[in-house]
Structures are given as structure tokens and as C-alpha cells.
């Protein structure tokens, strides 16, 4: 098993200099004896399914993302129109906001915003006699410190807000805190204050995953039942657990494989999952059409309506792939032809106007691209192609980086110091294709190492322009969309997608991306070593995305953590 550990280190290695062997998931690791353990190697693994000591990285304390915060307030209080402005999500780290959220320190301004938001949300309930009674469920009477109604509400609402039962000490603390402020008014006012406090507490704002001792294995900690519930809910619904999930946690259901699966299936079947999982895919695939800036002189077709249509197409297509078709996700991604278009997109896709309903409706209708056409899979959709391009043209480099980093889970180092990273301009009076310009670029040894990994992949998409329209010509010359991936040659986008589909690293990378998103952090080397098991199980179940969610949530890494230091 130690060979796996060593491999794992290789898996995570960046393409350090872009000159040596590159590998994300080492699909073709030669068989043979594993190398000898280097000094300091931990003891041999205990037999599966137990992971060895040190295998569970310390959990990442995630702050709720903006959308998670808003969804949670909606589900806790029914407040759907947030008045609050909220500290912006931190930087998108490794492609995901929730990973940045496990790294950010909330600023003083952010604390102020949470304070205002919690007060606003509580005021919207407690300013309304019907709503406050419905929330509290009883009429407070007598001193708050000894009022059973107050204690009952704090316990009930606190359990929902903090995603776990409050300890008796915590309930008492809140009652005492209320009793200290009787100057503010009656018990209702104090309940309003306590409600806001529960929503401003770090126990609400952060997902704390400290775990508890695992009686079966002192070397690791298992997540508490409630921590598992929160992990599940924020993964599959992007919001706080509902009562049914909290009750399942209370019963200990989530500790059994079958009980866990029952809840996962229930969550996946709910419409919240459709929204949340699609949002994950959009984030992973970096579809941010709202940020699209295109040069209208070059792309007169482009406008905000088209950008919006691209986004809807992408969202519907991804949801359809996962929730309606639920067939091989990797194939759909790279070779699927089924999508949805509206009148804005017909022109862009070079289709007759009649392919979609006439204006003024912008309704979408299902559409299947022809089997012998240039489009092959989601990666040839307009939203994908347009967001991986520059304002006035395509960028084989950007598209190539994306495929390396987000589809194959490799890392391309940033350009070395003191190189001009702007796209090389053409010589005066010379009209060149992107390929010709980039070829000149690659004559520089300091650029060539990395660019030879990126550009030849991106060339495969050169038959689509900067907004994703198909093109035969570029700069007055026929488009040459040939390229190669680590020696596997292709001649166009269809060929590129076929090469990616045949590469084991692609499905392994999908696994990895969902894993990272679910845990809010990068996998460490040891987990990387276990990833092939997860991917293998997924592959053998036909790469259905719902199956991946099930496999992941059943995995030990999802349910166990290491003790924090």
C-alpha cells in the first residue's frame, strides 16, 4: 500500500517547471514493485476500510458563502428578500467560493454587515405578530430566565440555526443574556435579540467540523451526526439541513450506510439539489457569462441578451445531464449533443431561425446537434467557449489552461518573472492566425515549456470564435484545429473531445472536483492516493453523476476527520 502513498505525492505535484514528466492522476503508472519506503514514512496502512493515522486532514472551517447564507436565512425564517448587503464572497480559490471561504478572515466591515443582516432578518419576523408567534410557537410569560417558552424556543430554533442541539449551558447562557437586557422591552423584544444573536454567532456563520472520538479507531475522529447532516445539506442543497435531516441525524441514521443513502437520495430528488448541483457545475466549468466583455466591433452579434441566453442554455443543459438524463456524465460533457436553444442562440449556432420560437418569446426548446457537425459535448457550447476567450478573439492558451487545470486537474505554473504575458502582436502589415502568433511565442525557451502543454489543446477549439460561433476561416486562412494531448493527436474539436473521453484522467478529475467542493478544501496527498478507488467505483457504475454523489458521501473521507492541532 505504501506505493499508493508515494503515487499520491506525484498526483498532486504541479507541473513544476513544465519540462519534466507531467501527470495529474498518473493513469499509466507502470506496474511493478512499489518503491522502498523513504525514511519517515508512516507505518503501513491498516487494512481497508480503515484509513491510517494521518489520513484525515484537519477539517476546513468554512464560512457560509453568500448564497449559503441567504438560502439558510430563507429556510430558517422564510425571509426571502434579503435587505442585507453581505460581505462579498472571498476570492475564488481553486475555482470555488467555498474554498476561499475556508481561508478568509472575516473583516470588521463584514462583522458589521452580519450584524445588520441578522437584525434586519429578525426584525422582519418579530415586527409581525403572526410571524413571530408562528416562529416561536408559544407565548412567552414571566421572567425570561425561567420561562419554559423561551427555553423551548431557544432550543428549537437554536438547533436549526446552529445545525445541532444547543447544550443546556448554551440555552442558559442565552436566557441570561436576555435577562440582562430587560431594559429593551418585553420578552418578545428579547427573543428578537436572541434570534439575531443566534444568526450572528460563529456557530451559524461557520461550518465547524471538529468531529468526535471514533470508538472503532482512536486514530481518527468521526464527524458527529449533525456535522454529517450539515455537510450533506450544504453539498446537495447549498443550504441549512431541514428538520427531516436533523431528525435523521438525531436518530443516528447517518452513521449507517443505508441510512445515509436514504437521506442522500431524498436530498438529490428535491428541486434544491437541481439548483445547487448545477451551481457547482457552473462554478467548476467557470461559466460566468455575467462577466463577459466582448468587443462589439468584432462580434456585432454579441449583446447582453445573448450572454444571458448562453447562461440559461448552460444551466439547463447541465441540469438535464445530471437530473433528467442521468446517463454517463463524462460522455455527455465531452460528446453529448442534446441541449436547449432559443432565438438568440440560433444565429450564434448557425441554425435556421425556425429552430426556436419566434420573438418576442425567448423561450428555450430542446435541440440536438447533428452527429456529424462540429459540436461535441458541453465544452463546445457557446457559454463555455465564450468564457474561455478574450474580448476580441479566442485564446488557445486560456482554453488549454482550462482543460489542463479544470478537466485534467493539473497545475500550470504562472509565467516566470519579467516576461511580457500579453498576447504577442502580429508583425506590422502581416496578418497571422492565432496559431502563427503563438508559434512565434513558443520559440522562447522560457515560454515554450508550458505553452507546449496548453496551446496545442486550445488549438482544438480554434474552429469556434470568441463567442462560440463556428468558423472555417481565421485571418483569411482556413482554420487548422489540429493539436495533441500528451502525444494523442487530434484534428479538430470532435477529435479533442474523443481524446479527452478516452483519457482516464478526465473522469478522475470530475471526482476530484466534486470532492474538493464537498469538503471545501484541496485533497491532501493521501486522499489523492485514495481517489482512484472513488473514481473506479464511479466508472464501474457508468459515470452517472448521482452515483458519484452517493459514492462520495459514503466514502470515509466524507465522514471522518483528523484531530485538529
Amino acid at each position: 500500500m505504501s506505493g499508493r502513498v508515494v503515487q499520491a505525492v506525484v498526483f498532486l505535484g504541479a507541473i513544476a517547471s513544465c519540462t519534466g514528466v507531467i501527470d495529474g492522476d498518473a493513469p499509466n503508472t507502470p506496474p511493478g514493485d512499489p518503491p522502498a519506503d523513504p525514511p519517515g514514512t508512516p507505518p503501513k496502512d491498516p487494512p481497508r476500510p480503515l484509513l491510517p493515522a494521518g489520513a484525515w486532514p484537519a477539517p476546513a472551517m468554512r464560512r457560509l458563502t453568500q448564497i449559503q447564507y441567504k438560502n439558510s436565512i430563507r429556510d430558517l425564517l422564510g425571509v426571502t428578500d434579503p435587505l442585507m448587503s453581505l460581505e462579498a464572497d472571498p476570492v475564488i480559490l481553486n475555482g470555488f467560493a467555498n474554498m476561499g471561504s475556508s481561508d478568509v478572515t472575516t473583516s470588521p466591515f463584514g462583522v458589521y454587515q452580519y450584524d445588520e443582516a441578522a437584525l434586519d432578518a429578525a426584525a422582519m419576523i418579530f415586527g409581525d405578530a403572526t410571524k413571530k408567534r408562528a416562529l416561536v410557537g408559544c407565548d412567552p410569560a414571566g421572567p425570561v430566565a425561567s420561562d419554559p417558552c423561551v427555553a423551548k424556543y431557544l432550543a428549537a430554533f437554536g438547533r436549526r440555526a446552529w445545525r445541532r442541539p444547543l447544550t443546556p449551558d448554551e440555552v442558559t447562557r442565552y436566557q441570561m443574556g436576555m435577562a440582562a437586557r430587560t431594559d429593551l422591552g418585553d420578552s418578545w423584544k428579547l427573543l428578537e435579540m436572541a434570534t439575531a444573536a443566534l444568526l450572528e454567532s460563529p456557530n451559524f456563520l461557520y461550518l465547524v467540523e471538529a468531529g468526535e472520538p471514533d470508538p472503532a479507531n482512536p486514530a481518527r475522529r468521526r464527524l458527529t451526526d449533525y456535522e454529517v447532516a450539515a455537510r450533506l445539506s450544504y453539498l446537495i442543497w447549498d443550504t441549512t439541513p431541514d428538520l427531516a435531516l436533523l431528525d435523521a441525524a438525531a436518530r443516528g441514521d447517518l452513521r449507517t450506510d443505508a441510512g445515509l443513502k436514504t437521506q442522500v437520495d431524498r436530498l438529490v430528488a428535491h428541486r434544491n439539489a437541481r439548483t445547487a448541483i448545477t451551481a457547482f457545475l457552473i462554478e467548476w466549468l467557470d461559466i460566468h457569462t455575467d462577466e463577459l466583455v466582448k468587443d462589439r466591433k468584432v462580434f456585432p452579434l454579441f449583446n447582453t441578451s445573448i450572454a444571458g441566453a448562453m447562461n440559461i442554455e448552460a444551466t439547463r443543459r447541465l441540469a438535464d445531464m445530471v437530473f433528467d438524463r442521468d446517463v454517463d456524465f463524462v460522455t455527455q460533457l465531452l460528446q453529448g449533443r442534446e441541449t436547449f436553444i432559443n432565438r438568440y442562440l440560433t444565429k450564434l449556432y448557425g441554425l435556421p431561425d425556425t429552430a426556436a420560437p419566434p420573438p418576442p418569446t425567448a423561450n428555450f426548446v430542446p435541440y440536438t446537434f447533428p452527429a456529424d457537425g462540429p459540436r461535441s459535448g458541453f465544452l463546445t457550447s457557446a457559454a463555455f467557449l465564450a468564457t474561455k476567450a478574450r474580448p476580441a478573439e479566442t485564446s488557445p492558451t486560456l482554453r488549454g489552461i482550462f482543460i489542463r487545470e479544470r478537466m485534467l486537474c493539473q497545475v500550470i505554473p504562472p509565467p516566470p518573472p519579467d516576461v511580457d504575458t500579453s498576447f504577442p502582436p502580429s508583425m506590422p502589415g502581416v496578418v497571422e492566425t492565432n496559431r502563427q502568433r503563438l508559434e512565434r511565442h513558443r520559440t522562447s525557451p522560457s515560454c515554450a515549456g508550458c505553452h507546449s502543454l496548453m496551446d496545442p489543446l486550445g488549438f482544438g477549439l480554434e474552429e469556434f470564435d470568441g463567442i462560440g460561433s463556428h468558423r472555417m476561416m481565421e485571418a483569411g486562412k482556413p482554420v487548422d484545429a489540429s493539436g495533441e494531448l500528451d502525444g494523442a493527436a487530434f484534428k479538430d474539436a470532435r477529435g479533442l473531445m474523443a481524446v479527452l473521453r478516452a483519457d482516464k484522467r478526465t473522469s478522475a478529475c470530475v471526482t476530484r472536483q466534486l470532492y474538493r467542493y464537498a469538503l471545501g478544501r484541496m485533497e491532501d496527498t493521501f486522499e489523492g492516493g485514495r481517489m482512484p478507488d472513488l473514481t473506479g467505483d464511479w466508472n464501474s457504475s457508468g459515470n452517472r453523476f448521482k452515483a458519484l454523489i452517493n459514492n462520495l458521501t459514503q466514502s470515509e473521507s466524507f465522514r471522518f476527520v483528523m484531530e485538529v492541532k
Binding site: A16, V91, L119
Partner: protein, 441 residues
Amino acid sequence: MAVSKFALPRRTFLRGVGGTLGLPILDAMLNGNGTALAAGAPLPKRLGVFFWGLGNRPLQWRPAGTGPDWALSEELAPLANVKSYVSVVSGLEIKGYAKGHHEGRAGSLTGGYSPMPAENGAYGSPAGPSIDQIAARAWTGKTPFSSVEIGISESGPGRKVVGSTAWRGPGRSYIPAEFSPRGLFNRLFAFKSPDGAKQLGMKKGILDLVTKDAAALRPRLGSKDRARLDGHLDGFRDLERSLDFSGVQCNVSVAAPTDSTGILTKEPLEERNKQMADILAMALSCDLTRSFTYQWSNMQAYTIYWQLGINDNHHTLTHDDRGTNFQFENVNKVTIFIMTQFAYLLERLKATPEGAGNLLDNSCIYATSEHGNASSHSLTEIPALICGKAGGALKAGVHYVSPKESTAKALLTCMRAVGLTVPSYGSDNNTVTDDIGALRA
């Protein structure tokens, strides 16, 4: 003087309740000469940072002449009314880092960059705190708000990039800017509830509870998360401090602003700039804070200057894909526009009397950007303006041509001018221990 330009109907506005302390620095509190508080303490000094994205056109920026004898350049012309308060530092560099927006911003704001490991997939960040946060820390407790972060253009540099000017330290401990004039006004001057006392009591009651929650949570966390929680606790303390100061009276002579709804392709930049500058002048005048950042636009900003009839965003202008120079004229126009807006802020401070002088007399405001020529991601000729007289510590109104010194040296000058004790500043090849003597009075 342009006082009348800003004269607004005065009305007394009580920030919070029950206070008796009179602010702004009322005449009653000053000594006979208006140079210090009656108790003998000198007038407070302020430190601000004005940041805009994407640099300038260095040849159109650098003024002719040096020392006190210099003429405003094309891009600096809008500063004519405050020229005697503005020192231009030319020739500054950020040394030893790759040429990129992130390195540039870190260098221009903090004199040091700390890269992320490549596996991390993220950009690096400043290697240490920005000068406004060093000031904020040193002056904690003196004012209700340690610092105020203002933003004008919201247009992003993209969602993978933190758009922030105030950095409390390395990593991701930044403070985002407030883009809503109404939000800033409320935070500084007002309680939403008509019953301020009750609102204040609620907030204090909540803070008491959540501070205890955090204390109980702390031992369960690992060291990294504990540090993050401590940062959150700092925020609780900041909030509490602002509540404790709630008795402070401030004669708020600016009306509560209304936020214009603007889409990102048509941001109400000039209007928001005026609103924010007015609020800031009021807040400084009332001594609600002494440290601020004023982020005109993000690093690598996508701001569209529709007011100038330019359709491409600022970042695109500087990196024109077609390899021609025809957009550089637009970069020049944008820089002049930004300096016009900055001039409004400086003039506003200059028009706010304080003691025998004005707010600008008692401030050091450092204006900079992440690049010189952003087109090549240049880390030379970083623009730097040191504005104000810092209570007499700065000569003001000179053009200093630096022999290719690090930006850290100019940043240090501003900090020392407002009386901060900072032995050295910057990181790596940018570390400096000396400030720019030629700028000091």
C-alpha cells in the same frame, strides 16, 4: 477658497444617544491659535490611501521640473486647485517580482508580495499590512471606527481576484470596500431605528452573546481556524467600540444620500464619488475615523468609462488585443478622468475647516495604482502622489524624482509624516528603513 462650493444646509445630527462630547473638533475644544486641542494634544492626523486600477500613461503623467518648481502634466492637470498640497513622486519601482497586477498592487500598497504555492491555484497577496491598517492599529481606540474603506467603481477584476485596498496582513485578511453611500452614511452617522437607544441596546446584547459563543468555540478549533476566529473577534470588538462611542455628537451637514442604481456598464461614478467624498470629509471632521482607503477602482478593473464615450472596459483598453496602440489615447483620457475625481476629494478636504487650517493640512493621502504602464504590466514608474501637509510634517507641493527606489520608501514617508513609528517597511528587495527626506518639512 472653494468653501461655498460645498456649503450645505447645516443641521444638527446626533449620532446615537445620550452623548455630551461635542465633535467635530469644535472651536470650544481648540486652543487660542486653533493649532491644538485645548487640553494640549495636537490636532489629530489622518492617513488615507486613494487607489485606482491600471496605472497611467507615464509620459503623460510625469511632470516637468523638479523640487518646488514643477508644472502639472497632462494627466495631473485636474489637480490644479490643490497643487500646493500635492507632491509627485516619480520613478518608483516594485522590485524583484513577476510583472503582474497582483504583484503590482501588493507592491504599490504594501511594498511586498507573497505568492501562493502553485498548487493552490490562487494569486498571491500583499506580504504585510497596508499603511492605512498600520495606522488603524496604532490608533485603535481613539475613534469610533478604526478605519473606513470606501469603494467607487464596483466593476470587478474577475471573480478569482480579491478587489480590495485595505490589507490587515498577508493572506486573505483584507477588508472589502463599501460601495453604497447610503450604507456608509448609516454606518457612520445613523441608526436605522427611530429609537436609537433600543437599537444600541440590542446590538450590545447581541455582541455580548456572540462574543461568548466565540470564546466557547475557540478551543475546539485548530490553530489556523483559531486565528481566523480571532480576526472575527476583532471585528466584534470594533463593532462594540463604535457602539461605545455612540454618544458622540456630529454636526452632520451632508444629507443622507440616496444610492443610484446603476448597472456595471453604466456606473454612476461621478455621483458616487461626490457622495462618498462628502461623507468621508464629514466623518474625518467629526473624528469618527482617522484612517481610510478610497478605492476608486479595482486592480485590473473592468470599469467602463461610458461618461467618456468609451465602450471597452479599462482593462481591455490597456491590453488591446489587436496589438495596436490606438486605445492608449483612451487610457490617457481615463487617467485624467480619475484624477478629476480625486481632485474633488482633495478639494473637499481642503474646504473642510479644522482649527486654523483645513483637513488636508492635517492629512497624508497617498494615491497610487498597481502599475505604471499597465499595458506591459510594468512595475516601474509606479504613480505615487503624496497629498496633504500632515500637520506640517510634509513639505507638500514638490516633485521628487526617485532614483528608482522602491514604492515602500514613499509609503513609509506617508506613515512617518502622520507620526507613526515604523522602523522599516516592505519585503524582500523592497525593504526600506529610510523615508524620502526631500518630502519632509
